[in-house]
């Protein structure tokens, strides 16, 4: 083996090692949807309690900052609402990226479609964050 091919082998090995955590962490669309589904019952309760609301970006947010430290039980674990929001938004963002790639579009387009879907499912009185940042209750 000469020096040149040796350098190539080292390069390929280093690239594989660097890519390993990313490849291991990547989830399929079904796995991400299953994760969102498992969290959904808790989300429904938080929406009904007016503690969190849906946003025009297809994500969720706390209606008031004061509720962020409150506890919620989701997927068998008790966590803060702030953590719950972060987990849900991470899953949704991952879904937007996967669906965008599959449909040859951008995650923003998927997020807007998802937001429309979520808005249509909000019940009367539940909170919706508009593009101007204002919270409104669905009529």
């Amino acid at each position: 083996m000469n020096t040149r091919s040796g350098t190539w082998v080292v390069g390929v090995v280093l690239a594989a090692v660097a890519a390993w955590p990313t490849a291991a962490a990547a989830r399929s669309k079904d796995e991400v949807v299953a994760s969102i589904k498992a969290r959904y019952p808790a989300l429904v309760q938080l929406l009904a309690a007016h503690k969190v609301g849906e946003t025009h970006k297809g994500l969720i947010d706390a209606v008031k900052d004061s509720v962020r430290d409150e506890k919620v039980t989701s997927k068998g674990k008790t966590i803060t609402i702030a953590q719950f929001i972060a987990n849900e938004n991470a899953d949704r963002t991952e879904y937007f990226a996967i669906a965008a790639k599959a449909n040859n579009t951008t995650p923003d387009v998927v997020a807007k479609g998802f937001a429309r879907h979520r808005f249509s499912l909000l019940k009367s009185g539940e909170f919706w964050k508009r593009e101007d940042g204002a919270w409104v209750q669905k009529k």
Binding site: K29, V33, I36, K37, Y40, P41, V44, Y95, A99, A102, N103, T105, V109, V110, G113, F114, R116, H117, R118, L121
Partner: protein, 69 residues
């Protein structure tokens, strides 16, 4: 001679508006179609993937399920 010159200038000035040309740019409809197609496709995909959101919440099983006669 002067009259002829004036008449010629006036004639030329009157002829200018007659030569006005209006160019109409072709209307592009294709990109709008594509955008709508993507939106419909995404809407279908979301509804399919998150169908569980539209299902009514499951009621807890009743304790007394036997029929009383």
């Amino acid at each position: 001679m002067k009259r002829w010159l004036l008449a010629g200038v006036a004639g030329a000035l009157l002829a200018v508006p007659c030569c006005a040309r209006v160019r109409v740019e072709p209307i592009e409809i294709k990109p709008i179609h594509i955008t709508m197609d993507i939106n419909i496709k995404i809407q279908k995909q979301v509804a399919e993937d998150f169908g569980f959101m539209t299902e009514p919440p499951k009621a807890p099983p009743a304790k007394d399920t036997e029929k009383k006669q």
